[in-house]
Each structure stands twice: as structure tokens, then as C-alpha cells.
């Protein structure tokens, strides 16, 4: 069995490599896939060099499982094509609310895995995943009626670029220099921003709506 990671050079992709190094997942070959920008770059996995391949011409029939961690637009464009040949486990939000795609935290609802229709399985939003895993044992015992949650999210949730920018901004502030935000709506260093993702008409943001909808789907 072979595996591919799409977005292998990003935050989630690199973490997936780390997790695979530790776990005893039985697979033969690992294909690392990213954009043309990273093509040919070498990444070490289990002591061996792996060359990064270009998604545009990657042949998914070579693998049994493909992890997608390259964002919503890439999942929208490539996941269904890939799913004709292999099982896709998608980190993006694109398929999460699709009724034909199970949204899984294994400890919570692995029973939904027998309803795979499109050969695609979705990973919940990061805030949803940690909420439902902690709520599940309590829901089983006492039945949850209502949850009110405030999240305090780290910058890595937005990818590698915002993570690097937090460090850059912090240095600028400490040096007494002016900060101009690139990946944030306001200065993030020494600050807090009450907003993630785009605003909906009712004043909520998509991130907030995702958490509420995904939690319900997960507990169904």
C-alpha cells in the first residue's frame, strides 16, 4: 500500500510526516506532493530523501490513501479526481458539510466510516476536533443540551506564513519599529484579534458557523 501527502511542504503536511514517522502505519511508498514552486525539493522521511512532486501531474492511481493538506481551493479542484483512484482524507473545509462525506474524529464517531460514498473523508476544523473529543464522554453520560464556547486560537491555524509573521512582528515591536500586517487584519504581536474567516450576514464569521455545524454533524 502506498500513501501520498498533498501539501507536504506546509504546516499540516509536515506534521503529518512527523506523525507517520512515529506511528506504525503499514505502507510501502510515500509520495510527497505540493505546488510547482516546491517541485524537486527534498524532504527527509525516516532517514531517506523524498523528492517533492508536482500536484498538476501526480498520478493518484499509485496510492491507496491520499492526505490532502493544501487548502480548500486545491481540495475543491483535485480531491474528487483523486478519489476516483484512492481514498482521500481531507483537512480542508471544502467537503466537511457534504452529506456524502463523513466528518470523523475516530474516538467520537468512527461508526460513520461505513458510510463512505465519495471515497472522501473529512477532518473537522481544528477547534471542532478538540471540542468534540472532550465533549463526547460527557455527552454519553449526561446528554449535552447546549454548548457556549470561546476559542483562543494560535496563528499556526492559518498556515506557515502567519506563523512566521508572528515572529517577524514580535521582533519589529521589540525593536521599536512600525508593524504592517500581511496575514492578519490587525497587528498580531502583543495583541488579540476577535475574528477568523469571513463575515456572514448575521454578524457571525464562517469559523464560528463551521464549529457549530460540524459539532452537530460529528455527534449525529
Amino acid at each position: 500500500m502506498n500513501i501520498a501527502i498533498v501539501g507536504a511542504t506546509g504546516n499540516v503536511g509536515r506534521k503529518t510526516l512527523e506523525v507517520l514517522e512515529k506511528k506504525e502505519l503499514p505502507f510501502d511508498n510515500l509520495y510527497l506532493v505540493a505546488s510547482s514552486k516546491s517541485e524537486g525539493q527534498k524532504i527527509i522521511f525516516k532517514g531517506k530523501d523524498h523528492e517533492v512532486l508536482n500536484l498538476e501531474n501526480f498520478d493518484f492511481s499509485k496510492v491507496k490513501i491520499a492526505f490532502f493538506a493544501a487548502g480548500k481551493k486545491i481540495s475543491e479542484k483535485f480531491a474528487e479526481k483523486a478519489a476516483k483512484h484512492c481514498l482521500v482524507i481531507d483537512n480542508s473545509s471544502f467537503f466537511r458539510m457534504d452529506p456524502d462525506v463523513p466528518l470523523i474524529v475516530p474516538q467520537v464517531n468512527s461508526s460513520h466510516l461505513d458510510q463512505i460514498k465519495k471515497n472522501i473523508i473529512a477532518n473537522p476544523n481544528c477547534s471542532t476536533a478538540q471540542l468534540v473529543i472532550a465533549c463526547k464522554p460527557l455527552h454519553d453520560l449526561f446528554v449535552i443540551k447546549r454548548i457556549v464556547v470561546s476559542t483562543y486560537q494560535s496563528v499556526s491555524g492559518g498556515g506557515k506564513a502567519p506563523m512566521d509573521e508572528l515572529i517577524e512582528q514580535t521582533k519589529l515591536v521589540l525593536d521599536g519599529k512600525n508593524v504592517k500586517s500581511k496575514n492578519f487584519t490587525k497587528q498580531i504581536a502583543f495583541n488579540a484579534i476577535p475574528h477568523i474567516d469571513v463575515f456572514a450576514d448575521d454578524g457571525y464569521t464562517k469559523e464560528e458557523l463551521k464549529m457549530s455545524k460540524e459539532t452537530k454533524k460529528n455527534f449525529r
Binding site: P106, D114, P124, I133, F142, V143, I147, V149, S154, V155
Partner: protein, 104 residues
């Protein structure tokens, strides 16, 4: 937040049924993937920095919300790149393999 890794959540839950803090604690601590760190002393809780790189989701500040019926407050911290992404995805793959891909 100006934090590199791990998301924190302040959570208020209302249950249908009555609960005891003891049962809440043991249910959380015995659930795969969860760990209770809740000592009710200075530093007796988890923070994002400490959760970074860990597989577990940490639950702290477990206390009753006495302003509503069957109310509970929690502080939940987890590495967003692990439970929130990479670890969860790999665990899904493990579950699929263990179950022979459910015949797919």
C-alpha cells in the same frame, strides 16, 4: 492570539441530566485522546505551550456553573496541528486499515 501552536477553548456546557464533578473528571480522563490536568492550585492547569507537540487534548479548570441548571465550565487545550489536523487524519487512516477499508 500571539501564540504559535495550540488552540485553547473556554467552554460552558449545559446538560440535560445532573452530573457530579467526580464523574466528569473520570469520564474525561478515561477517554482515549483526553487527559485531565486540573489541580486547583497555581499552575495546576494546561496551557497552549505545554500542549504543543502532544497527542492528547487537555482538560483543565473543571468547575460547576451554578448560574444555570446542570452547568459545567471547562478549559480545553490541544495542539491544533495534531488533534486538529495531522494526528486526526492519520488516526482515520489507521481506523480504515484496521477495518479493511470497510470493504472499499
Amino acid at each position: 492570539m500571539p501564540i504559535s501552536v495550540s488552540h485553547s477553548e473556554s467552554v460552558n456546557i449545559q446538560f440535560e441530566k445532573s452530573f457530579s464533578l467526580e464523574k466528569v473528571r473520570s469520564a474525561l480522563d478515561n477517554f482515549e485522546g483526553c487527559k485531565v490536568i486540573d489541580e486547583r492550585i497555581d499552575g495546576g492547569y494546561s496551557t497552549p505551550l505545554e500542549a504543543e507537540g502532544k497527542d492528547e487534548t487537555f482538560i483543565s479548570r473543571i468547575r460547576e456553573d451554578k448560574t444555570i441548571k446542570n452547568g459545567l465550565n471547562l478549559w480545553i487545550v490541544s495542539d491544533n496541528l495534531l488533534r486538529g489536523a495531522a494526528l486526526n487524519a492519520v488516526e482515520i487512516a489507521e481506523t480504515l486499515i484496521k477495518n479493511n477499508f470497510y470493504g472499499k
